[in-house]
Amino acid sequence: MKSRRRSLVPYFLIAPALLYLAAFFAYPMFQGLLLAVYDDEATLPLLDGPTVDGAEVGRLSQGSGITISDRQGNRLADADVVDNDEFATGLLTEQWFQVSGEGIEGDEVSGWMPESRLRVRDEAADGTVLGGTIRPRLGQSGDPSTALRAEPNESAAEIGRIGERVAVTVDETAVLEVWFQVVDAETGLEGWAPSRFVEVFSDDETGRIDRGTAGEFTTKFIRKMVDDRKFSSAWRTTLMLIGMILPLQFVLAMAMALVIDARLRFGSGFLYVFALPMGMSDLAVGILFFSIFSGNGLLNSFLEAIGVIDAQKLFLTADTQGWILFAIVLAELWRATSIVMVILVSGLQAIPRETLEAAELFGASYWQRVRHIVLPLLKPSIQVALILRTILAFQVFAVVIALSGGDVVTVLANETFRQYFSLRNNNVASAYAVFILLLSIASAVFYLRAVRAQEEVRPS
């Protein structure tokens, strides 16, 4: 049997779309979600010497306790100091100055010494150090003079000494990055690491690994999310809102759809009125309902006007969570019922007139027709609307922010936002995003399976 020749054209046509999808959607999303389970600062390699060229002797994970056994400064290239932001952050540096002045033997000496020995007295407009005096060594016995060295390094050869309070000119400045030789408190592993990755405690001898340079997969962000004090209230509130909003919403949407499908006089007017909230952003709706429930809001004005209350009642406070939830439910019902309605109306209109007429003719009352004919035939539309609405409900955010400030009542999307912007915790925010994604997928799969029997029923 000869196989049918396939046309390649559709594959060519779909290629740009796939590329677009991969480049602008799948890849960034993958990277974003990866943050939830991947810590790119997890471990710090220790080197066998205080240079970037050193061989790795082992790794310490972030947070390991260490003791510092030795220090050394390495001169940084000027480009690194000026240009490289990453170098600048958390960089523990030391400045060394090449100075010239009168030595202890009265001769002219020139050499390097650390910034701690110079009191700066002369600076250029741009901050460059031009000159100063040698600091005295207070309360110290021993040689009060300061050693000058051939290189900006403690271990370089001494080429002269200079006395206290001697005025010197600064010929050159060098920036040294301090390297620590650290010993892991637990394993005793010893090696060198740049100071910027090490947090030094106040005793100047112990510390911990602040962050690493190599990544690894981890569950710590997820644990951090789950342990967050707002996590359980966020997902409980989200599910509770779904549980309260969706059933009401579907009953309302069904009623609206039936009204429109009844083709009453002014029926299209109903459609416009019902569909109006679809044109409003969720934040705008949140603010609208805030203006209803706020202290000077419409509800208070109304209740005062009809004499039910004497003074303003505060609905949206930390002590009135119930009212806030009520306002959120109301706002979400008002805002998102119309999208469900539109889906149901389109499903209703796909039901053949004659099918409904037949039911009527065979004696079914209006409610019997709705129950025995309309609802079963509407199942595919209800399924679509349920999936869409549930996924959107997991993302509810702006209305909650507007009505509760995102603090008294919190939801998953709001926690994602808080972790990312307020707490600057990208990884935990990403863990929240993954959690929402998994909940959405799970609910979609659940609905698809729950209404699977429907497939064989569709009219051919």
Binding site: P352, E354, T355, E357, A358, A359, E360, L361, F362, G363, A364, S365, Q368, H372, I373, P376, L377, K379, E456, V457, R458, P459, S460
Partner: protein
């Protein structure tokens, strides 16, 4: 007793009058066919009887009960829809039992009625299946079974066979006729297919532009159409129409002339001509009612053959008589070729005389 009386029923959609002051009576247990071209109002009339569209004016009663303003569910009738309108999400059993369930029958009675109806239509083995994977013919049987299971005294059918292929339609036609005769329901059957109408109906009501043109037994509608429209709508080929001039002699006798040739009419023609006060008439005659001969015979008119169509059981000739083009059916062995000259004889008892002004048959 379920006699359907329709009295002066009018139904309009906007400016379009679909049913225009129709009055007719369907006798108890009668099979009445509403026949007409599309847009003639036959389906609208049926839906008005069913209650799926309310009459603008007039009155409908079923079995002596005024149902004009009753909803369809309370009119105690059942219906087969053109699209079958089977409920796609239910099994065949649930479909057939739907009406009984809605009327609150108990489970056992429903099951019994469903089995009976399924047996009548030979679909017992389909009962647990769903309509989605069934053929058009099977669905049609389900739709009929659903209507019969109700055991209503009135069954309405809206072109139930129009979605079937030709062979199946032929088969179902006979089966439906037998079934409906057996159960003895009063049936109103809408169709645009004249063969269906003639073969199934006890009486046929021919409709045009919302009005009933003629309501009679099938052979009467065929043989003696009430007007030119009925003659031309019914029959395949349709009735032939020949323009004739009337020559009224001094003694009051009338002669009908086609060109210079006379068509011999019955003696009573002159009375009808005088009554209609016209000097022109149209002669209507069916294709099979003319005698064709090769040789000239007394009272025959000359005709020229234009087309010869052998149809197996007959040869259909298209001939020209004067300016009129006629269809003539002949025995399949009759020798005829295009351009051949033939002679046509018109038996007076087969001629229908039509007044061109009113288009009504005034004689014959």
């Amino acid at each position: 007793m379920a006699e359907i009386r329709i009295e002066s029923v009018t139904k309009a959609f906007g400016d379009k009058v679909a049913v225009d002051d129709v009055s007719l009576t369907v006798h108890d247990r009668e099979f009445l066919v509403l026949l007409g071209p599309s847009g003639c109002g036959k389906t609208t009339l049926l839906r008005t009887i069913a209650g799926l569209g309310m009459a603008d004016s007039g009155r409908i009663s079923i079995g002596g009960r005024d149902v004009t303003y009753l909803p369809p569910g309370e009119r105690q009738l059942s219906m087969v829809f053109q699209s079958y309108a089977i409920f796609p999400h239910m099994t065949v059993r649930d479909n057939i039992g739907f009406g009984l369930k809605m009327h609150g029958e108990d489970e056992a009675a429903i099951a019994r009625s469903v089995d009976e109806a399924a047996e009548l239509l030979h679909i017992e083995e389909l009962l647990e299946r769903r309509p989605a994977d069934m053929s058009g013919g099977q669905r049609q049987r389900v739709a009929v079974a659903r209507a019969l299971a109700m055991k209503a005294e009135v069954v309405l059918m809206d072109e139930p066979l129009s979605n079937l292929d030709a062979l199946l339609r032929l088969e179902m036609r006979a089966e439906l006729k037998r079934l409906l005769a057996d159960i003895g329901a009063t049936t109103v059957y809408v169709t645009h297919d004249q063969i269906e109408a003639l073969s199934m109906g006890d009486r046929v009501a021919v409709m045009r532009d919302g009005k009933v043109q003629q309501i009679d037994e099938p052979n009467v509608v065929y043989d003696s159409p009430a007007n030119r429209f009925v003659g031309s709508f019914i029959g395949n080929p349709p009735m032939n129409f020949i323009d004739a001039t009337i020559d009224l002699a001094a003694d009051g006798s009338a002669r009908a002339l086609v060109g210079e040739h006379e068509i011999v009419a019955g003696a009573a023609l002159s009375d009808h001509v005088t009554a209609a006060a016209t000097d022109r008439l149209v002669v209507g005659v069916r294709a099979e009612n003319m005698h064709v001969t090769v040789e000239h015979s007394e009272g025959a008119l000359p005709a020229t053959v234009q087309v010869v169509e052998p149809l197996g059981s007959q040869n259909l000739l298209t001939v020209l008589v004067g300016d009129s083009r006629l269809k003539v059916s002949t025995h399949p062995t009759f020798p005829a070729k295009p351009d051949q000259e033939l002679w046509l004889r018109f038996p007076p008892e087969q001629l229908r005389w039509i007044d061109p002004a009113t288009e009504r048959v005034i004689y014959g």
